[in-house]
């Protein structure tokens, strides 16, 4: 099953990965080959098999709804690339200006 360069570019945006032209060329070939390989599952009749997302038969696991200690602001920000001491700083969501 062949993916087009456009398919791969679209997936790149969904995956939030900036891809160079060389990346796109290489990945179009590699992903086509891998998708072709995994497509062998089509030959199996799975009509009677329910999807198994998780190997355990556990149901929802709840804990008591009680406050307990969590990370401090300092701990949460200790490896943050840009912050102002209380918030994460990111470039503008809307418009071009105000990149932090």
């Amino acid at each position: 099953m062949a993916l087009s360069r456009q398919d791969v570019a679209k997936v790149g945006l969904l995956a939030r990965l900036a891809l160079s032209d060389a990346d796109l060329d290489r990945m179009t070939g590699e992903l086509s080959k891998i998708v072709g390989f995994v497509s062998q599952l089509e030959e199996l009749d799975t009509a009677q098999a329910a999807p198994l997302a998780h190997p355990l038969d556990t149901q929802n696991v709840f804990r008591a709804d009680e406050p307990k200690p969590s990370l401090t602001t300092e701990q949460a920000l200790q490896s943050t690339p840009r912050h102002d001491g209380s918030c994460f700083l990111v470039p503008a969501v809307l418009g071009e200006s105000g990149a932090a």
Binding site: L31, T46, P51, L52, S79
Partner: protein, 502 residues
């Protein structure tokens, strides 16, 4: 040298009795790391000062007669996928270069509580994605048995450091074979426990329904010792099992008389190296001589394991790795990095924020991680979800049912760990699909959520270790460890050492 060759069980006993101090033990292994790791590259970080301080504290408390934990003074190496609050945790990725987690992984906390001495963080394939350790952003690991060959992966550093006597035990993680395959290729013993047996809290997530932490050591008995500390329920991991943790080390001695071991004829088909096949058949013969019976069993959907795994794992990975966005922690691209968006006509990003995300991730992740994120994103995207992800989950059900059916007839299933012995560095790096096939005998264990152990069962004529794998039903760790230990009482493959300087 003798100190380095002691089993973990014997070393812990010697330290408790005062025959060896914890500082002596730590120094011996740290000196060995200093001497050898330049040529092996098993470690990404070694904290000699902290390890020696920790060991000195164990010695002090022992002298004062204070209570000590069950692993007191035991040097332990930890895969760099587990969070350590006092050492960097990088997952061998540029994305996390220099990252300091704000907390310890549950397993790391348990090791510290047991008074183990953490000597360092081991090299791995980036984000545990790979079967050769060549996907590390910080250089490949070299197999101690032949430095020109790969140690396997993704826990290649953990396997190599134990094989080279740089640590008596190491912690690995196994999503599709990442403990068992490198253990097999490096001639050591590695246990992939049942899904949920060990808490995953603080293990950097790759594929959350498959990931499992486990011990790697020179013998099954040493793995059993470590399991007693790291296994068990953790309220911080909703998927961790509440079942009691057995005293694994007390359950090793019962003979194997009457044990039924399954043998899957398809495992011996084309693609299996003849020397590996021979070593594995010899191991079956040894189990038979020890009182076990061997029975052919079918795993009819095993041949679809790789295709199923390479949909399920990348789908989960694409979701898990979405957290690396350049905003919260990890690598952040500065603007104007030279990448342009290929996704939108005209090369424009829809906002400066999206540009930052896309560039940070493009710069931080290596090629295999990107490939898997792309594959998973594709297989989960509108129009393809049913055909790929949901289909793979249905086949996963069939694969698990195969194991349930087989374990109605046999107690364990034996076979090869990987189709070949350790392969030369660089041999498979240009062909992702060829690299995926090294997991063909191991991915089923993870898809089914059951247990597996690998241990050495011979050597090729060229002197490379051959691994044997046993798989068992959920929570069969006592039996897996006992079967491997009984085998190791009858053979000495696990005590062979690679040709390294003394």
């Amino acid at each position: 040298m003798q100190l380095l060759e002691l089993s973990a069980v014997d070393l812990v006993t010697a330290i408790r009795r005062g025959e060896v101090s914890a500082v002596q033990a730590a120094e011996a292994f740290l000196d060995r790391i200093t001497k050898l790791d330049g040529s092996i590259n098993a470690f990404l970080h070694v904290d000699r000062t902290a390890a020696l301080a920790r060991a000195a504290d164990v010695d002090k408390r022992r002298r004062e007669g204070k209570p000590l934990g069950p692993l007191a003074g035991l040097p332990v190496a930890v895969k760099d996928a587990l969070c350590t609050s006092d050492q960097p945790t990088t997952c061998a990725s540029k994305m996390l270069a220099g990252y300091r987690p704000p907390y310890d992984a549950h397993v790391v906390a348990r090791l510290r509580q047991a008074d183990a001495v953490l000597v360092g963080k081991t090299n791995m394939d980036e984000f545990a994605m790979g079967g050769s350790n060549e996907n590390s952003a910080f250089g490949a690991v070299h197999n101690p048995w032949d430095l020109a060959r790969a140690p396997g992966g993704s826990s290649g550093g953990s396997a190599a450091c134990v094989a080279a006597d740089m640590a008596p035990v190491a912690i690995g993680s196994d999503t599709g074979g990442s403990i068992r395959q490198p253990a097999g290729l490096c001639g050591i013993t590695g246990l992939k426990p049942t899904y949920g047996r060990i808490s995953r809290r603080g293990l950097v997530a790759f594929a959350s329904s498959l990931d499992q932490i486990g011990p790697m050591a020179r013998s099954a008995a040493d793995c059993a010792l470590v399991m007693e500390t790291i296994a068990g329920h953790d309220p911080g991991d909703a998927t961790s099992l509440a079942d009691d943790v057995p005293r694994y080390t007390d359950l090793l001695e019962k003979p194997l008389t009457g044990l039924r071991i399954g043998r899957v004829p398809e495992h011996f088909g084309p693609g299996l190296d003849p020397e590996v096949a021979h070593g594995v058949e010899e191991a079956f013969a040894a189990f038979k001589a020890a009182g076990a019976t061997i029975h052919d069993v079918e795993l009819p959907h095993a041949k679809y394991g790789i295709a199923t795994y390479y949909l399920v794992a990348p789908c989960e990975a694409s979701s898990n790795l979405a957290r690396y966005d350049g905003a919260h922690y990890g690598h952040r691209a500065e603007s104007g990095s030279g990448h342009r968006s290929a996704a939108k006509a005209g090369g424009e990003f829809e906002s400066p924020l999206v540009e930052m995300y896309c560039r940070s991730r493009a710069e931080g992740f290596g090629p295999e991680v990107k490939r898997r994120i792309m594959l998973g994103t594709y297989a989960l995207s509108a129009g393809y979800y049913e055909a790929f992800y949901a289909k793979a989950l249905r086949v996963r059900r069939l694969i698990r049912q195969d194991y349930l059916d087989a374990f109605a007839k046999v107690d364990l299933i034996g076979g090869p760990v990987s189709p070949t012995p350790a392969f030369p560095l660089g041999e498979k790096t240009s062909d992702p699909l060829a690299m995926y096939l090294v997991d063909m005998y191991t991915v089923g264990t993870n898809l089914a959520g059951i247990g597996g152990i690998s241990f050495p069962c011979g050597f090729t004529k060229g002197g490379l270790p051959i691994g044997f794998q046993l798989q068992g039903p959920a929570l069969s760790e006592p039996l897996l460890l006992r079967a491997a230990d009984r085998y190791q009482q009858l053979t000495d493959w696990h005590s062979k050492r690679p040709p390294l300087p003394a």
